[in-house]
Symmetry: C2
Subunit: 129 residues, 2 copies
DNA sequence: CTGCTATATTGCTATATAGGCATACAATGA
DNA sequence: TCATTGTATGCCTATATAGCAATATAGCAG
């Protein structure tokens, strides 16, 4: 990761745009195709003003593109990379959860062993920590 | 990206931890190995209290691990995936910059063509927009 | 032109958080 | 135990921003 400070700031900016659940929800809605503001509201449950604001931020960041069609304005993903990014993070978080779950199981196992071990002094002595 | 709302919130949280330049700088410093708080200060130019705070956030997020050694506390990367993530984003941003640069060059080219075209009325007429 | 619908924007409030100063806390040596 | 060094934390200020209500703006049909 050899990035100039200003480049690193831009990386931080990119993460910042994605650091808000409402915006991720809006992006999720775009996974299945272009949508206007009203459709976004329906898909996300967010208010109109709110959706509009978040879409503006996403458009300014170059993540979505904006197209007027009649009274409606349609937004479409312009940077598919964003989905990959979210997927990578989601997968990693899932993995971590599974690892923790595994560790929890091992702890449970250890607890059960210890519970048995309390009944027999000689077997606890063998499990030197 | 089929994530439950709570999972998506965790994705947002992950991006949030990375959305701050100071924290990215701290992570960068860890690329070259474990460091104590003072070393982080030197590597990043940030203040002690500030560094400590950011390291705490990173530790709580499970991104760095913390080890006391004498008076010093060493921090080390616990989630190398973070570096991949930053690299992906950095690369993509670079690509976008290059694409924009290309487009700018093409616009320059078009401008030059137009400049030539103004000197000859018949050749401009041929370029039906 | 008017009325309607869709969307963008403004202004406000509440909340979060970065950075810095001061201080508390941890570890160590004399 | 005390003094020193390294680090963590509390408090404060300033700034950013989410969400919402109200309103301005854009597009269209009659």
């Amino acid at each position: 990761m050899f990035l100039f400070p200003s480049a690193l700031a831009q990386v931080a900016d990119c993460f910042k745009v994605l650091s808000e659940l409402s915006r991720l929800q809006v992006l999720c809605a775009l996974k299945s195709g272009s949508k206007n503001v009203t459709e976004h509201m329906e898909a996300t449950g967010l208010g109109q003003a709110n959706v509009s604001k978040h879409l503006k931020i996403l458009a300014q960041a170059g993540i979505v593109s904006r197209t007027s069609h009649g009274v409606s304005v349609y937004y479409e993903i312009a940077e598919p990379f964003i989905f990959e990014l979210c997927e990578l993070v989601g997968d990693r978080l899932t993995s971590r959860l599974e690892e923790q779950s595994q560790q929890l199981k091992q702890l449970e196992g250890l607890r059960r062993t210890a519970a048995f071990g309390l009944g027999s002094r000689s077997s606890t002595g063998k499990g030197g920590k």
